[in-house]
């Protein structure tokens, strides 16, 4: 597992470095100006962005024979998949950390950047949930349908993540009366649904990957 985690780290690092530079620069700008829209975009896109680059390394591994070579190393197929899910969680956390830092700085400099402080939580939940859904869709789809369509599956999983979140939020708004407790419940439902999808996606991906031939 240590080797797999190192492998994922080195694979994600170059893109993560580039994204981190962009995040620092845009973060500085967003901290300086007062814009709720920019801050919402920064939080959501930052979390999804790091999650996306962690996912895309899986595709890159098959541009060389490394994806196949890994199967000859002393690791189990389930461990390979587990490491990829964990890797996505790690980089999602990095994105979340960037978002928390910029939100905190913005709050310190200009006061609460939202109409209500609870909206900050909602924005974070949205970013994290979309990332979970994206991973939950991408991994099984990628191993089921082959490596050559990796780019398509990343886009498709992002679209699916958006549709899932939009549907759940719409349903919550339709079914639950407005109010603080209900907004809290809505966030919990969205986060729980996406986390559940992510958790269930793992055994499904392992099952698919065990049958794949390279």
């Amino acid at each position: 597992m240590k080797g797999l985690m190192k492998n994922n780290f080195y694979a994600t690092l170059p893109s993560a470095k580039a994204l981190a530079i962009i995040m620092v620069l845009t973060g500085a700008f967003i901290t300086a100006v007062i814009s709720q829209t920019l801050l919402i975009s920064y939080i959501v896109l930052g979390i999804i962005g790091f999650a996306e680059i962690a996912v895309s390394i899986v595709k890159e591994e098959f541009s060389s024979k490394w994806g196949k070579y890994k199967l000859t190393l002393p690791v189990r197929r389930a461990q390979i998949i587990k490491s990829q899910f964990i890797n996505q969680l790690i980089w999602m956390s990095v994105g979340t950390l960037f978002a928390i830092t910029v939100t905190a700085l913005s709050w310190l400099l200009h006061g609460c950047p939202y109409d209500s402080p609870f909206d900050i939580v909602t924005t974070f939940v949205l970013g994290i949930s979309m990332s979970f859904f994206m991973g939950a869709v991408f991994f099984p789809l990628f191993y089921l349908n082959g490596e050559e369509r990796g780019h398509v599956f990343i886009s498709l999983s992002l679209v699916c993540a958006f549709i899932f979140c939009y549907t759940i939020v719409s349903l919550i708004n339709y079914l639950i009366e407005p109010g603080f407790n209900n907004r809290l419940l809505g966030n919990v439902i969205l986060l729980a649904a996406s986390a559940m999808a992510y958790i269930l996606s793992y055994p499904l991906t392992v099952r698919i990957f065990r049958r794949r031939e390279y």
Partner: protein, 288 residues
């Protein structure tokens, strides 16, 4: 004789491409090199896939170190080094990063040995692999395959695309490796001259079928090709013919015992035969 690798009746069919690996059986004794020869698409990589479990075989058994390897048998994979043809590792890594990653995979990863190979093969440690030439990439893959002290090396076209000097260097490394009695190499290649230099046994595969397995010395010193005319060909005992190939004014006949054939058919020219020619006769020729 004990075998490090045993394949019994391995079959695998790809319905889409209509390719079938059928009933393949061979074994690799400890301390030897087996050259696995066949033209492109003959089934060499599929066979290796079945051995390494990257491909699910339809039937048959593969035993590595006397045991069938399952996904959970990481201890068996710990003892195997693999080199594939082409880019084995992601191009954005350096050799140094590769060593760090491999160190996480193998309990017995030996960074000192890896550094020695890097120095011997004149490979830069901090240059990205994508900037390596093909020869350098293959050398790096061989260095990585050897640096966790494996007992079995499985090399799939590991020398193809290398210039003759580099190939010779690599073959010396392989010969060094099998100096240890419990080390063996399965060397898949279509470069028969390499196998003539290092292999102890040769297995020929064609269209997914194993057509001949024999000790290399038998092939080189006992097998022969008879150059005969049509009338002479008719006089040859069918039992002596392994394969024959008609050319413009001559028929080449592959026989398993050249000395015996020379005595028996005194009016027919008998020549020594190279592995290359044996492969050509077996693949392109006809069998009775």
């Amino acid at each position: 004789m004990e075998h490090i690798l045993e394949l019994e009746h391995i079959s695998k069919t790809y319905p889409k491409s209509n390719f079938t690996l059928s009933n393949l059986s061979f074994s690799l004794p400890y301390g030897t090199i087996l050259g696995f020869v066949g033209e492109n698409g003959a089934g060499k990589t599929t066979t290796i896939g079945c051995i390494l479990n990257t491909i699910a075989k339809d039937s048959g058994t593969v035993k590595l170190f006397g045991k069938e390897m399952q996904d959970n048998d990481t201890d068996i994979r710990e003892k195997i080094g693999v080199v594939y043809d082409g880019d084995n590792f992601p191009g954005f890594w350096t050799a140094k990063q590769l060593s760090q990653v491999m160190n996480g995979f193998y309990d017995r990863w030996d960074n000192t040995l890896f550094q020695k190979y890097l120095a011997d093969f004149e490979l830069p440690e901090n240059q990205k692999i994508k900037h390596f030439s093909r020869g350098m990439s293959m050398k790096l893959a061989i260095a990585a395959a050897l640096s966790h002290h494996p007992k079995l090396l499985i090399l799939d076209e590991a020398t193809s695309g290398l210039d003759p000097i580099m190939r010779d260097e690599m073959l010396d490394v392989f010969l060094d490796f099998v100096q240890e009695e419990n080390h063996s190499i399965l060397l898949s290649s279509h470069i028969t001259s390499d196998l003539e230099k290092v292999a102890d046994y040769i297995a020929f595969i064609h269209n997914g079928k194993l057509i001949l397995t024999a000790p290399k010395d038998d092939l080189i010193y006992h097998y022969a090709v008879l150059r005969c005319k049509e009338s002479q060909f008719q006089s040859i005992d069918r039992k002596d013919i392994l394969a024959f190939r008609k050319r413009d004014f001559q028929i080449d006949v592959l026989v398993p015992d050249g000395k015996e054939a020379a005595k028996k058919y005194r009016d027919i020219v008998s020549d020594h035969v190279s592995i290359d020619e044996i492969m050509l006769l077996l693949v392109k020729g006809e069998q009775l």
